[in-house]
């Protein structure tokens, strides 16, 4: 930590946050908001101000189990070594206009005139590392309930055991201040649960952390009785199983069951390993909830335009590039991407730093040319494409759409919005997909046209092949960058050519590589299916399915389900007629313009 403070290449900005990020790899323009510390860099950390201040508030660094003053430092080794004033509690900002710390500061380092400042910085690459926060278990096992004062979280125990913590390292029952004679740990608090507001995943850190704490407690109090209630202890990897076995040798009791808590911190539980039916009841002096971890990625995702996975962590570009995001020049490290212990955080930080260093090794960055292109002859400057683009890559200049090439990701969402065929994705143009449709449907027979996105569904089909899963030979896959690039026009064109069945497939909701663009696909396909129905066409002939890269089996099921659908020739002929009519009408409209 101190290395950061004194490194000549690092500019450390604490009490600061990112407000907005514009630009692209090589040239990001970042707006930062710097909150006032009210203490200048002249502060020598002498501590006289701290002695004079007598305004107290809850100390969040100690999980609100202690008090701190309005002028403070979270802990003694803080970097930078400088006090700050908490303007939410300091009474200088109230009617009292207290000046005590100012009076006592010999270095005149206190400056109440500081205000919030905004600053714009220019950088070439960004690493997001906002980490995790502990799950708030209020309401579970009576936590936060005055009836159960001796139920604490694992983070509170961590502070209690720290020599700098609220109890100076003494482990005590909060209700009495006495050393406990028995401690119960409850695992998976908030984790691995489908209940509303809880976390569906394994938080991964809680099992080894609890095992660590049982050993530290046993070292100090060999006679302490410790029970760990769990849903399967997960201590994987090189050295973690070792400490688990060590804890068992130290007579820590592991019970594979979740208890109920009743008055007097009595836990009721059954132990299927010992005696299946018998319910046991045991009173504990201290109950520690091993809480899960929650990602802090929502805000980060907002200003960096990077997608989040279903569970709220940053989604990596692909599994083989675990610290990359789909945005070139934006990387992430640590638990913001998945629960990670300290060693893994350090490994990922190294990986992300290497990615950035690779960029800095060159004077320029190279970006894919597979992006949107405007045909200015056809463009009317109506602006619909610009409104459609979630990345802000299209602006209207001189009544024509203009693409900021480095910002465009090439998803193709703009294409559907253009009534004049004036915008297309280079080498994934609509006319190219139509040409492929003509080739695929020169004899339509029983064929199934499958539009598959580059990132998930196409990879899912690859995985089906690699796994040698067998499916109908009628499938003809056409690759798009994103499912949102499959225009309504294109689907109608397939039907006009006599396609009996069409599947549109993309990444699962929340997994799209272009923010939430697959939701546009859903809207379009749903509407088109309604249109089919109103025209007397079986809407099941058009299917929208989400297939991820790992779902080879699902890809096969989707194709086979479509294969089962029977479409008679009359219906195909009728569909052909209906959609050739509409495309003719559309082209006439265009001529009139």
């Amino acid at each position: 930590m101190v290395d950061v403070g004194r490194h000549p290449n690092i500019e450390l900005l604490t009490m600061s946050e990112v407000v907005e990020v514009k630009g692209y790899v090589g040239s990001f323009e970042v707006t930062l908001r710097k909150h006032p510390k009210y203490v200048t860099e002249d502060c020598t950390f002498c501590g006289e101000c701290l002695e004079r201040c007598n305004v107290f508030t809850e100390d969040d660094f100690n999980e609100n189990r202690a008090l701190r003053k309005a002028i403070y430092t979270p802990f003694l080794q803080s970097v930078p070594r400088q006090y700050v004033i908490d303007d939410k509690v300091c009474i200088h900002f109230s009617e009292e206009a207290c000046q005590k710390c100012v009076e006592d500061c010999k270095k005149h380092a206190i400056d109440f005139s500081q205000v919030v400042e905004e600053e714009t910085v220019h950088v070439g690459a960004i690493i997001g590392a906002t980490g995790i926060r502990p799950y708030d278990p209020t309401g579970l096992y009576g936590y936060g309930d005055s009836r159960f004062p001796d139920v604490i979280t694992s983070m509170e125990l961590e502070r209690m055991m720290s020599p700098e913590g609220p109890t100076k390292g003494e482990v005590v029952r909060p209700s009495t201040g006495q050393t406990p004679g028995s401690v119960a740990f409850i695992q998976c608090v908030g984790s691995r649960s489908e209940k509303e507001g809880q976390l569906s995943y394994c938080s991964k850190l809680c099992c080894p952390n609890t095992v660590k704490n049982t050993l530290l407690l046993k070292e100090r109090f060999p006679e302490l009785e410790i029970f760990v209630f769990h849903n399967g202890i997960r201590t994987s990897g090189n050295r973690q199983e070792k400490i688990f076995l060590e804890a068992r040798r130290e007579r820590v009791v592991f019970v594979n069951s979740f208890p109920e808590i009743t008055q007097g911190h009595a836990l009721t539980f059954s132990d299927p390993m010992l005696d299946h039916d018998r319910l046991m009841k045991k009173q504990f002096d201290l109950v520690v909830l091993a809480v899960g971890v929650v990602p802090t990625a929502v805000e980060l995702s907002g200003f960096l335009s990077v997608p989040l996975g279903k569970r709220g962590f940053v989604k990596e570009d692909n599994q083989l590039s675990p610290t990359s995001t789909p945005t070139k020049g934006v990387y992430f490290a640590g638990a913001v991407g998945s629960p990670a212990d300290i060693k893994q955080c350090i490994e990922q930080a190294g990986s992300a730093a290497m990615q950035v260093s690779k960029h800095f090794h060159r004077d320029t960055a190279e970006l894919s040319p597979v992006i949107a292109k405007v045909n200015i002859e056809e463009c009317t400057g109506c602006g619909k494409c610009s409104k459609q683009c979630l990345f802000g890559a299209i602006r209207i200049e001189d009544k024509v759409a203009s693409i900021t090439e480095a910002v465009c990701r090439g998803c193709g969402n703009c294409v559907n919005s253009c009534e004049f065929d004036a915008i297309s994705i280079s080498n994934y143009a609509e006319k190219q997909m139509k040409a492929q449709l003509r080739a695929a449907l020169h004899q339509p027979e029983e064929k199934i046209i499958v539009f598959a996105c580059h990132w998930c569904s196409y990879a899912g089909a690859d995985f089906a092949g690699t796994s040698r899963l067998q499916y109908s030979t009628n499938a003809r896959i056409i690759k798009t960058m994103c499912s949102c690039g499959v225009t309504v026009d294109l689907i109608k064109y397939a039907f006009a050519l006599g396609a009996p069945k069409v599947i549109v497939s993309g990444c699962h909701p929340g997994d799209c590589h272009y923010l939430d663009n697959n939701m546009f696909t859903k809207k379009r396909v749903t509407k088109l299916k309604e249109g089919l129905m109103s025209k007397g066409i079986n809407p099941e002939r058009l299917m929208l399915e989400w297939v991820s890269a790992s779902e080879g089996q699902r890809f096969v099921e989707v194709v086979q389900k479509m294969e089962q659908l029977r479409v008679d020739e009359d219906e195909i002929e009728m569909t052909k007629m209906i959609f050739s009519e509409t495309s003719k009408r559309k082209s006439r409209k265009r001529v009139r313009k």
């Binding site: 930590m1 950061v4 000549p8 290449n9 690092i10 500019e11 450390l12 900005l13 009490m15 600061s16 790899v25 090589g26 040239s27 990001f28 660094f61 430092t73 979270p74 803080s78 930078p80 400088q82 220019h122 950088v123 070439g124 690493i127 590392a129 906002t130 980490g131 983070m155 961590e158 502070r159 055991m161 050993l215 050295r239 638990a335 300290i342 955080c345 350090i346 930080a349 190294g350 730093a353 260093s357 800095f360 190279e366 040319p369 090439e405 190219q432 040409a435 492929q436 080739a439 580059h454 990879a459 690859d462 092949g465 690699t466 067998q470 499916y471 030979t473 003809r476 896959i477 056409i478």
Partner: protein, 194 residues
């Protein structure tokens, strides 16, 4: 374009493709279209590369279709081959006749061959409309922003700074250290928190 200068390259992938799909029938079917050249090779991604380069030059091809495995595996390989042969690397389309054909229709060789022909025809129609493209070059500001001063942000900043790069580390709180600083000791070796 007055004359088609498309070359089609069909990979056997040893027996991975040719064991199921009748590659000769593809060659015959595609040969009946107006493409300039159809060529088979046992392994297009290895020995076949040199063949593609020499064919592009000898037959003055301006675009190619490679019918082989998934573009997710070898798109970049064949783009480099194009570059080496002196044509634009984006004038190339891969057609997946392994994952999408021989491997998933193993017991239907006739049907698989028919499908493979369709897929190659689709690729030929696609490549005809490809445009030469050039990657976009943008200048690089050699300064990084790290958001978050926990263990990950600290370590990433130090790594980059030690390599000589300028770093701005932004932290919302009054100190760096993050959650790690709150921990007493860390598993599995009970070391003090770094």
């Amino acid at each position: 374009m007055s004359e088609d200068r498309t070359g089609v390259f069909i990979c056997h992938c040893g027996t991975n493709i040719a064991g199921t799909v009748n590659c000769q029938m593809i060659t015959e079917a595609i040969g009946r279209t107006d493409v300039a050249l159809v060529r088979e090779h046992a392994y297009m991604c290895t020995g076949g590369q040199a063949q593609i380069v020499s064919d592009i030059q000898e037959f003055d091809l301006d675009r190619i279709v490679v019918a082989a495995c998934s573009p997710r595996i070898h798109d970049e390989t064949f783009r480099s081959v194009c570059k080496e042969a002196g044509i634009n690397p984006y004038m190339m389309e891969m057609v997946n006749i392994r994952e999408q054909c021989s491997w998933c229709h193993t017991n239907q060789p006739d049907e698989a061959t028919r499908k493979a022909i369709d897929l190659v025809l689709m690729g030929v129609e696609n490549v005809k409309l490809d445009q030469p493209l050039t990657p976009i070059e943008v200048p690089m500001t050699k300064k990084a922003l790290v958001i978050g001063g926990g263990i990950s942000g600290i370590e990433a900043s130090l790594q980059m700074a030690d390599l000589g790069h300028k770093v701005i580390l932004v932290e919302r709180g009054p100190t760096i250290g993050g959650k790690m600083a709150q921990l007493n000791k860390i598993f599995p070796d009970q070391n003090c928190s770094p």
